[in-house]
């Protein structure tokens, strides 16, 4: 059963066309990677889904056309965007950041349980629960950004460069936790990642974007076996 489907999606910033017909299919509980060089349109694809950039083409979520909705409306449907650069709320404490993530929920008890779940998933955050987000390390901020997305109880999570600027071991920790989250929650994921090795630890399939178009699409195993992918994205 398909959860998210993009067909011929286009987008431009002013006169510069960034997406030129991107397609993507994410099954229920599936995880799909978007790979590609800088400027290929990976981030813009996520922004088109979450409504932060105006897009053409067709974007359907759970059978509903969501193109043209505002970001908060998209979020309300169950799509949580973890943006590049993390987007944590610096002047709020870790706990308040998580509570903002649960803004649309009414089940107070469930929210408390999910805060506990986030702290269990990311034990680093537990000690920092009353710190302001701006005082966290880069890795902790990334964990908080994912935690904030978890709090909205999404059906689909959009992860943008979760490893960016992190030490390799920290990046691995973050991805380990996200993999555990995927198994335990069944949240579907679209994963944008420069580090293809890291991405393949999480996703079942992936598409490679080149100048705003799908250049290649396949399962993780297929793509990992291709020489050109190895050369371009896997370092050897």
């Amino acid at each position: 059963m398909t959860l998210l489907e993009l067909e011929g999606v286009t987008a431009s910033y002013g006169p510069v066309q960034v997406l030129d017909g991107v397609s993507l299919t994410v099954p229920e509980q599936g995880a799909v990677g978007i790979l590609g060089a800088n400027g290929a349109g990976k981030t813009t694809t996520l922004r088109a889904i979450s409504g932060t950039v105006r897009a053409g083409g067709r974007i359907t979520f759970d059978g509903k056309d969501i193109r043209g909705l505002r970001p908060d409306q998209v979020a309300a449907l169950g799509i949580a965007h973890v943006p590049e650069g993390r987007g944590t709320l610096g002047d709020l404490t870790v706990r308040d950041n998580l509570r903002v993530g649960a803004y649309l929920r009414k089940d107070r008890k469930g929210v408390e349980e999910d805060i506990d779940y986030c702290l269990d998933l990311f034990p680093n955050l537990k000690e920092r629960i009353t710190s302001n987000a701006s005082a966290l390390s880069g890795g902790e901020q990334q964990m908080l950004a994912v935690g904030r997305a978890i709090m909205s109880k999404p059906r689909l999570m959009l992860l943008d460069e979760a490893s960016l600027g992190l030490a390799p071991s920290t990046a691995k920790n973050v991805y380990d936790a996200i993999r555990r989250l995927r198994v335990e929650s069944g949240i579907a994921m679209v994963v944008v990642e420069q580090n293809a090795n890291l991405a393949f630890t999480l996703v079942d399939s992936a598409t490679v974007l080149e100048t705003g178009r799908n250049a290649l699409t396949g399962t993780s195993a297929e793509l990992k076996g291709m020489d050109e992918i190895r050369r371009a994205y896997l370092g050897g």
Binding site: T52, R70, A80, G87, D91, L92, S134, R148, S152
Partner: protein, 293 residues
């Protein structure tokens, strides 16, 4: 001694008016990250609404309630139709727009109702009550009490409610807030509307004393900004306490420090700010911003 206490109580009362305006400024800042220089001008407009309605024969309290509703709507509309265009750009531009708005509102109010001083009915009686040998006006007590309630409500809003948390989230990072499902536009309108209502309360409290003119709150705005800086931009209780300190010091200095007198008393809060900011750049009650890079 009696004179001293009298000066303190009067200072508390004028300080409360600065405090109310300062609270409105803090509210907008918490909700949008901006300092609204037009806060005083918008408040004066609300006071004129009360004045027009009472002249039509409406009871004062009804007129005030209508003016508060008017203020909420006006504040929300200013956000929606004016500030929205500038909020995504350079914050400096948006601040200059609020200064322009202040000039515009003052001009329109002067054009509609002239620049003459208008008598304004008082919410509290002008009687005095004697307390430990000091006579205090009911108006001073009432003004202070209203501000204390407003301050506590606001503190409760920011610290204890989901709406307060949402307003702060939107101010810090509107895009992230939207990703969590917050309707950013609506929350900004709510913030501006609530702030305008607070401003209206301040204007109604002070208008009987100052008499109503388009520029009635210009001085108070300067003091309110001083209180905001002194108290710390993030703390409703802090700014009200700072406003009280300013009101009291100003009164005491005018009487007890010979070379200051009534002409120079406007300088007192600024000397105070200067000293405080040297020691505590985040203000007396503000939280220090720690940013890790």
């Amino acid at each position: 001694m009696g004179k001293f206490v009298q000066l303190v109580v009067d200072g508390l009362s004028t300080g409360s008016v600065y405090g109310a305006l300062a609270l409105a400024i803090v509210l907008v800042h918490q909700a949008t990250g901006l300092i609204n220089f037009a806060q005083g001008g918008m408040a004066v407009l609300s006071a004129y609404v009360v004045w027009v309605l009472t002249n039509q024969g409406l009871p004062l309290i009804v007129a005030i309630l209508i003016a508060i509703v008017f203020s909420v709507v006006f504040g929300a509309l200013v956000e929606r139709w004016l500030m929205r265009r500038f909020e995504r750009g350079d914050p400096d531009t948006a601040v200059v727009v609020t200064i322009g708005l202040l000039t515009l509102i003052t001009g329109v109010a002067g054009w509609l109702w002239t620049y003459n001083n208008q008598q304004f009915p008082s919410l509290f009686s002008l009687d005095t009550v004697s307390f430990l040998g000091v006579s205090v006006s009911v108006r001073s007590l009432g003004t202070t009490a209203v501000i204390v309630v407003a301050m506590l409500l606001l503190q409760g809003l920011f610290v204890g409610t989901k709406l307060g948390l949402a307003l702060r989230a939107v101010a810090i990072n509107p895009q992230s807030a939207a990703f969590s499902g917050l309707n950013v536009g609506r929350l900004l309108m709510v913030g501006w509307g609530l702030a305008a209502a607070l401003g209206a309360v301040a204007a109604v409290l002070v208008a009987p004393q100052l008499t109503l003119t388009p520029g009635m709150l210009d001085n108070a705005l300067v003091y309110a900004l001083a209180a905001v800086i002194l108290g710390g931009l993030t703390s409703p209780i802090g700014v009200v306490v700072a406003a009280w300190i300013i009101g009291i010091l100003e009164n005491l200095a005018a009487v007890y420090v010979p070379f200051i007198g009534f002409d120079l008393k406007v300088a007192v809060p600024f000397i105070l700010i200067f000293v405080v900011l040297l020691v505590r750049p985040q203000g007396l009650f503000g939280r220090k911003n720690v940013v890790r890079v």
